[in-house]
């Protein structure tokens, strides 16, 4: 995201706070803005600083999940997808199908 968005955010925030003051809907002025900003910070910190160090592992942690970089069974040559005959030969071979069959 570029810095060009910042003035837009600032304008919308000021207008939003002004309207908040006028209509008196929120329990406190800037209630929605506060939840938006602090919610983002809270969730990001919990996810990235607390959970990530404990839970993240390399991509080959489960060998079966370490699929090839490009999933060939969805990428490449189109095949006649209403023909099931080639499916039996694809069983058990990750990423070896022809194309288009799904992700």
């Amino acid at each position: 995201m570029t810095r060009r968005a910042l003035p837009v955010i600032a304008v919308v925030a000021v207008v939003g706070l002004g309207l908040d003051l006028l209509i008196g809907y929120s329990p406190v002025i800037g209630y929605g803005a506060g939840i938006g900003l602090f919610g983002t910070i809270l969730l990001t910190i919990v996810a990235k600083q607390v959970m990530a160090p404990a839970l993240q592992r390399s991509e080959d942690y489960y060998p079966e999940d370490a699929s090839p970089e490009v999933e060939h069974d969805v990428h490449g040559v189109r095949r006649d997808l209403d023909d099931d005959t080639d499916h039996a030969s694809r069983s058990g071979h990750p990423g070896r199908g022809e194309a288009g069959g799904g992700a």
């Binding site: 995201m1 929605g32 803005a33 900003l37 209403d82 058990g92 990750p94």
Partner: protein, 575 residues
């Protein structure tokens, strides 16, 4: 009895069989007509319709119609139609057949008036949805599909146990709200498993991203939403659901912020959003149940659209990890725009469907003066926008950290294939519905179980929501570096059955041999040899060779599933 002919499940179940035997084009046409007929049936059947049939000593309620069933029936038919269109160019006949059967079974769950009919369709749904996962026929989907099957067969046994206890206790099998007791807890566990309530959720994030692109769209629509329907019917106002729902919503969104796989991220979001619905069921007021139904209805449309968008990216690029993507916006503009319609809808941006549906749930919590719940749900909403509306589309389409520069100068490392027209048609249909509901809420509200009097577009809620969304954008900008996608996987509770047994067995073998009184060199050889042998056996169970017999019939996996199922049956019988 003639009403039974209008049962929306029949066209889908019949088409599921016929598409296997008809030639290609007529089969495709039939698979499009079947959801339309189901939709027509759902709209034709009137509130209060009840069709019963005797079976031994039971009086089965094969078809029961009220406003709740109609709401779910209509959206299931629409979802089936959009999913079929989406998969027209990519889905093999076999997969399309089981997907239609799955949609029909889910429809049967919705219209079942008694627990026995519900159980039969529930089991059919479990088996057919497993085959949707298995239909991709890769090593990964086969393994995940078998785990999915085990979970859902286990859930079915819990439901069967609850059904039997309920009959013994009350002498009735009519599907109404449960009283607390053994039957209620067993059935609640079955429904919670199918809804993906933690700690019974790991099957969802495990299996959904491994299915085909069209298969995942089908899966996202039916299993968890049928469970939400069942919870609304069976456990309105259950306090435990209120707390489980909040945990679920938060859990899903935190994992979504961490996740790198584009479809697994959206799978975690299903858990999070279903958490909103489960919370609403726990609140249990009319407004809350309307909110759960409205959110389920709209969620099927916008989550389907999001998965269609990311499925299109995967189809076009062959890449499923956000860290491998980026810089493809100028070659997938239409997909990006359609995806963003889904993203702003799920994020409750005013004028889109989420704002008129999901926002009913915090509103209902506010009516009950549950301030902590309102704040918790709004914070989770922030996470929804952050991950599906900002992080994921940025990493996928724009980000420069990926391998795909945004130019067509021949230096591209990400090849972007054309996306079939049918995918665009399905995404366009879903996007149009999300916008239509957002612009004209009565389209949705008129289908809800009870009348909705709340005016969604009052100035106050709109201003508050805009503030929240804008500040989330600011937070994203401030924390941009921290939110980047990393090429990592995230451990979840599936670790307990995918990794822990291997670690325990290896550790035991090591300890046993360490205690043995053998000379050092011989002991080292023995340990090494036993470790190698033990790991080979465990690898056969947990990670069989890729060129081995197809996993669907692999004796170890299937045997494990059958053994565990038999153990569950025994427990249920003892109960």
């Amino acid at each position: 009895m003639s009403d039974l002919l209008l049962h929306p499940a029949w066209p889908l179940l019949i088409a599921a069989v016929l598409v296997r035997v008809l030639p290609r084009r007529p089969g495709q046409l039939l698979s499009l007509i079947a959801p339309v007929l189901a939709l027509a049936g759902g709209l034709t059947l009137t509130d209060g319709t009840l069709v019963t049939a005797p079976l031994m000593t039971f009086e089965l309620e094969l078809l029961r119609v009220d406003r709740l069933t109609t709401a779910f029936g209509v959206v299931f038919a629409v979802a089936a139609l959009l999913s079929v269109i989406y998969g027209l160019a990519t889905q093999p006949i076999g997969e399309r057949g089981v997907a239609l059967a799955y949609a029909g079974a889910a429809m049967g769950v919705i219209y079942a008036g008694d627990l026995l009919t519900l159980f039969l369709f529930w089991e059919l749904k479990a088996v057919t949805s497993s085959f949707v996962v298995l239909s991709r026929r890769t090593h990964r989907s086969n393994r995940a599909g078998m785990r999915y099957l085990f979970f859902h067969i286990a859930g079915g046994k819990l439901l069967l146990g609850g059904l039997i206890v309920q009959y013994q206790t009350t002498g009735s099998l009519t599907f109404t709200a449960f009283e607390s007791g053994v039957a209620g807890w067993l059935v609640l566990a079955a429904f919670a498993l199918s809804a993906g309530v933690p700690p019974l959720h790991a099957w969802l994030k495990d299996a959904y991203p491994t299915a085909s692109v069209a298969g995942t769209v089908f899966l996202s629509a039916f299993t968890t939403k049928a469970a939400v329907y069942a919870l609304i019917r069976g456990f309105p106002g259950s306090q435990v659901l209120l707390y489980l729902g909040v945990i679920m919503a938060t859990y899903g969104v935190l994992y979504a912020i961490l996740e790198n796989d584009i479809r697994r991220l959206l799978s975690y979001h299903i858990i999070s959003q279903v958490g909103f619905m489960v919370t609403a069921v726990g609140i249990g007021t009319e407004t809350a149940l309307n909110g759960a139904t409205a959110h389920a209805f709209a969620h099927i449309l916008y989550k389907g659209l999001l998965l269609m968008g990311m499925g299109a990216v995967l189809y076009a690029t062959g890449r499923s990890r956000a860290s491998d993507l980026g810089g493809i916006l100028n070659r997938m503009r239409s997909v990006a725009v359609l995806y963003m319609i889904g993203a702003v809808s799920i994020s409750s941006v005013p004028l889109f469907s989420g704002f008129v549906s999901k926002e009913l749930i915090p509103y209902a919590a506010g009516q009950e003066e549950l301030a902590w719940l309102v704040i918790a749900l709004k914070v989770v909403s922030v996470g929804t926008f952050l991950s599906t509306g900002l992080k994921l589309p940025y990493a996928t389409f724009i980000g420069t950290r990926g391998l795909g520069p945004a130019t067509e100068d021949g230096t591209d490392r990400v090849v972007v294939k054309p996306v079939p027209v049918s995918m665009y048609v399905a995404m366009g249909g879903a996007a149009a519905l999300n916008i239509a509901i957002g612009l004209y809420p009565p389209l949705l509200y008129d289908l809800m179980p009870t009348e909705i009097t709340r005016a969604p577009y009052a100035l106050g809620p709109v201003v508050e929501k805009v503030q929240l969304l804008v500040m989330t954008v600011l937070g994203f900008w401030l924390l941009f570096a921290m939110l980047g996608s990393k090429a990592k996987i995230n451990l979840d509770l599936d670790w307990l059955y995918r990794r822990l047994p291997v670690l325990i067995s290896a550790h035991r073998a090591e300890r046993t041999l360490a205690r043995a009184d053998t000379p050092a060199s011989a002991r080292t050889r023995a340990v090494t040899s036993t470790r190698t042998g033990g790991r080979a056996v465990l690898a056969r169970v947990f990670e069989p060779p890729e060129d081995d017999t197809p996993d669907v019939v692999a004796t170890w996996t299937l045997g494990g599933v059958l053994l565990a199922t038999a153990a569950l049956l025994l427990i249920v019988s003892l109960l």
